[in-house]
Assembly symmetry: C2
Homo-oligomer: 335 residues x 2
């Protein structure tokens, strides 16, 4: 089996061979060049959005996805929730000496397939190699640039009392999928990660409801973290009905066994949106067109001004309690 | 001493605290946000250039620089050699559990100072934490976007027989500085890394000689790797006079002792340029204004068409021999 050697990162002949045979073979010539990619005419008009994402997930491959997909969707979805159409991606890799080249090839093919799915290109890259033990097989950093849709302005401060809170699909799948793959657990049927590109649903939602004031993908910290960031940034309270939050049966079961809260589990293909009440039906109709939005639902309401940004959960038993800000202790290296 | 904990990467309260107190404190609010940064009006005209760089240098601090400076200059210099003015940077970090927060703070301050020096902002970021042993303290990936100067077209295929090859300053300092810091060696006086931003010199050179067909910063693999890439991409032979290549005495001494060739040692603040013979004086005059261009000199000449792209070195003794493409085996994790 061919493996990564230190010289693959040394700037010499072996590095050129690695880039030519394994990177340029997938993405084309420009990506192997050390200097930047020129995007002729890409920015004829519109505002530019830039976002970046480091990917350190373990295991590298899990039900429903892998590190390569996460690296692409992570950047694409950050662009999508600012209302920006992805224009180009960069890919920086840190490889561990001894990494099987077959593993690298599988992940690069996955990056390429994910980028193609969104219609965006990886235009430039960098590859470094560290000694055995210097990293855990492979880490990636993707940066995305995009052009914002005209007229769209995603800004938590624009939410108003009475606006409704939507989730684009059922939550918690990515966290459970990675955890079960890592620990060799199975919860009455495989739970697949929800990892998926969100530009399509975001575009359709923002086309149907251009006045939507807030969109955010629910990754580390899950829906709970997004709700707290929204409440704090907007200076409002937010109320969520637990019973209306879409959670699949296998995810619910896994969470019950493991003592996890689906609300703080990472998703990699779901967003939370705030829309004015008059536009809820249009928003749900826009999402219903997309396979990555199963069970999209209204889950809560923006409350009165509250500088502290409280988040309230109405339980299935009708009791109202504060929803904790996740501590961030469980599930490291989830993305 | 405060140290990085796994929960600093978990998406919850501790991560928000880390971002607020250590990242946003340095770069301002926008960088801590998960979604992208909107660059209003940044791209009113001109072509966009995008480049990315992973930084894994060890030690983190070395004479003349540190990982933070390298991360910024790496991206800025890749933009500079395409003739693009830096517009914005992103910063993705992978932190090892147990990293002293003081070390993180020093490196972030260094990133900020380096970016300020170039007049560019870090506009977005991402921070991941891996378990102890999952990386070596800290790795960074920076992506830069820039706007290309109108009329400039850097393309190896535009070099012509008789064009002259310039180096912007003395070579080999970064490689020797990092190696001596790593091994605790000293070579008759400290050798400092040449790491420096190259946008200023590149701008002045391209303003003085807009027809310059080729510019490339000499990083991993050093000047030798750049010469080979140039010769191959242009389909020409290139001849270099060893005696005219600027190398400082301490670097020369260190290379003699260690059996290293300065031509294949990494620089982090030097570029190679090709200019038509009539413009050599204008090019050297432009570089002479800049402190990061000590000893800029003409070192060679573009030869006849040669699909194999041979690189010839005329030694101090007047003999001509092929210059090897560096193997990339020595000096891992140099940048």
């Amino acid at each position: 089996m061919k493996r990564i050697q230190m010289a693959h990162g040394g700037g010499g002949r072996l590095m050129q061979q690695l880039l030519r045979e394994h990177v340029a073979a997938v993405f084309g010539e420009p990506v192997m060049h050390h200097d930047g990619a020129v995007l002729v005419g890409a920015m004829a008009d519109g505002e530019l959005v830039m976002t970046t994402d480091a990917s350190v997930v373990t295991p590298l491959f899990f039900p429903g996805g892998d590190l390569g997909k996460l690296a692409v969707y992570g950047a694409v979805n950050d662009l999508a929730v600012t209302g920006a159409r992805p224009v180009a991606l960069s890919l920086a890799l840190v490889l561990e000496e001894g990494l099987p080249l077959e593993t690298l090839d599988r992940l690069l093919a996955s990056v390429k397939a994910a980028a193609d799915e969104v219609g965006v290109s990886v235009v430039t890259g960098d590859t470094k190699v560290v000694e055995r033990g210097g990293c855990d097989r492979i880490y990636a950093a993707t940066t995305g640039i995009g052009r914002r849709l005209p007229g769209v302005r995603i800004d938590a401060r624009r939410v108003r009392e009475g606006d409704r809170v939507l989730l684009s699909g059922d939550i918690g799948r990515h966290g459970v999928a990675v955890l079960s793959a890592r620990e060799g657990l199975s919860f009455g049927g495989a739970v697949e990660s929800d990892c998926a590109p969100l530009w399509g649903p975001a575009l359709d939602l923002l086309t149907a409801v251009p006045s939507a004031p807030f969109l955010r993908d629910c990754t580390r910290g899950g829906v709970a973290a997004v709700l707290h960031e929204l409440a704090r940034a907007a200076g409002v309270s937010v109320s969520v009905e637990e019973a209306s939050v879409p959670v699949s049966e296998p995810v619910r079961g896994a969470c019950a066994i493991l003592g996890l809260d689906p609300m703080s589990l990472a998703c990699e293909g779901r967003f939370l949106a705030v829309v004015p009440p008059a536009h809820v039906d249009a928003a749900l109709a826009a999402l219903s067109e997309h396979s990555q939005c199963p069970g999209a639902a209204v889950v809560g309401t923006i409350g009165a001004a509250d500088p502290g940004g409280a988040v309230w959960l109405t339980t299935a038993f009708g009791q109202e309690r504060p929803l904790d800000y996740p501590s961030g202790e469980h599930l490291p290296r989830i993305c």
